[in-house]
Symmetry: C2
Subunit: 306 residues, 2 copies
């Protein structure tokens, strides 16, 4: 085993992301001992059955006790409460990080709740699937994906360097960013896309003139792509929108403004305006594929019989 | 070779769909002779190099001459003009169909342009990828996908039955539908999804506070899903919106109304409203997977190293 970056790693929350961190950290050998905690007894039992960690706790404070790195992998809205639970158990010099999709509110919660002898270094691995729970996780989830760390000013550089090496060992590329800027960037690359996916699935479900069965049968025309992210964890996403309100509303305002312009182009038969937009959006797809952030193969590589 | 359903099949347009019909029909042995036509010399040369048909023509009238089934696989906006080109060459009793994503305008165009001795039976295989051109096609594209036929009233039942068997031989499930209802159903399952995908990619490209490089790097948070269909053929999609205006505007109006309600829920911190929607949208995904219209595997089956 390579030298462990952290003697004792505690992961609070054994869902898709927490369980994947446990798997990837175990595989990379970056922690001497991995503790996994979950307040839900059946999720914890699943994680234990899968053998994801070295020890298991239902109590987050017991899990965080003596840990060198604690990663909070719970919905953003639960961060403050879990931080309160573990605050008294944290040893001096421990790093507390997280995997939440919103960073400014998490940084505020942790700063207000945790004692001053803790290195607070929030993080966000931009990776996931639409599935939930410990069985859905896998060790390569973070490979070639970006992990964004949003350390507050005057963070300890040694602690930050160690956390950076931790995520690199899990296969991630690491970026350091201001928490507020993170929230703006993710509003457009993740939060608003999820919102409009949830929204169109809701709209399609509520129609009278088109049946639910028709929506399902003809979904290969494009709609099915949206249903994937609209199947993501409802609690996690509710918390994202409640905790990144301003950035989401800002980006949503721009989206709606642009959509109104497209609507007008359709109403007035302005084919040139439609063609111009549809033509320039191809470049971004090419950029994403070239940057290794999506598969080059057609249709996401969906299984075909050829 | 099994008995051919049509002695001579002419496919006008050798793009993704036309070339896939040629491949699938060849593989299924449902045509005695397959003619492929394309007005673009380099596309036709590609098709010929790939050996997709038995003969090749740049002139659609020459291709349609003596054909028993003609399938128009050109953008919806080009249907009337191609129909005009072939009208004089069509033999009595020929079936003329198409693969366009809008059906009422195509039915009108064909009815106005083609002679009365032709069976006009418009069709729409609900299948495709974001790629274009003859090299992107493949024989199994239509397998387990729905092909919707929209025959006008008083269509010849024998001709309709033969076309139905043709698409079944290509692996499709076949549904008969009124053209106007088709256009309403596809507006929500295909056209509006494409429009909002194009729109969000446009919005993301135009931001000042978030760079293009950031949009690309962090696209795995959800945005990248939308870039796939926003990379679809611009001409094809311009024509869809120009030719299905009323149904698209109707569905878009509902989408925007629902999105405004979600925006309000975010602004006022109404977590219950968000959770309720996010929870009920999971069912539709399950329905689509159960109906065999998408892969059950996480993340569309995108390649992972595990």
């Amino acid at each position: 085993m390579p030298d462990a970056l952290y003697e004792r790693l505690a992961i609070i929350g054994a869902g898709l992301i927490g369980s994947s961190v446990a798997r990837a950290a175990g595989k990379a050998g970056v922690a001497g001992h991995i503790v996994l905690a979950d307040a839900d007894a059946s999720i914890l039992a699943d994680a234990e059955r899968l053998g994801l960690a070295d020890s298991y706790h239902s109590d987050p404070a017991a899990a965080a006790d003596k840990a060198d790195l604690v990663i909070l992998a719970v919905p953003v809205g639960a961060m403050a409460s879990v931080a309160g639970d573990i605050a008294g158990a944290l040893k001096p010099g421990v790093t507390v990080s997280d995997v939440g999709s919103v960073k400014e509110s998490v940084l505020d919660s942790l700063t207000q709740t945790l004692p001053p002898h803790v290195h607070i270094l929030p993080g966000h691995p931009v990776a996931g699937t639409e599935q939930s729970g410990p069985a859905a996780g896998f060790a390569s989830l973070f490979e070639d994906r970006w992990c964004i760390l949003t350390p507050p000013p005057q963070s300890d550089t040694q602690a930050l360097d160690r956390l950076t090496r931790f995520w690199r060992a899990l296969g991630s590329r690491v970026e350091i960013m201001d928490a507020r800027h993170h929230d703006l960037v993710l509003a457009i690359t993740s939060h608003v896309p999820h919102l409009i996916a949830y929204n169109i699935v809701g709209t399609a479900s509520d129609l009278e003139a088109v049946t639910r069965s028709e929506v399902i049968k003809y979904s290969a025309g494009g709609f099915r792509d949206f249903t994937r992210i609209a199947a993501s964890d409802p609690t996690m996403w509710r918390d994202v929108f409640l905790n990144n309100r301003d950035a989401v509303l800002e980006m949503l305002g721009r989206f709606s403004e642009d959509l109104t312009a497209l609507q007008r182009a359709i109403r007035w038969g302005d084919g040139d305006a439609l063609f111009t937009l549809f033509n320039r959006t191809r470049d971004i797809r090419r950029g994403i594929v070239d940057a290794g952030q999506d598969a080059a193969v057609a249709d996401f590589g969906r299984p075909h019989k050829d």
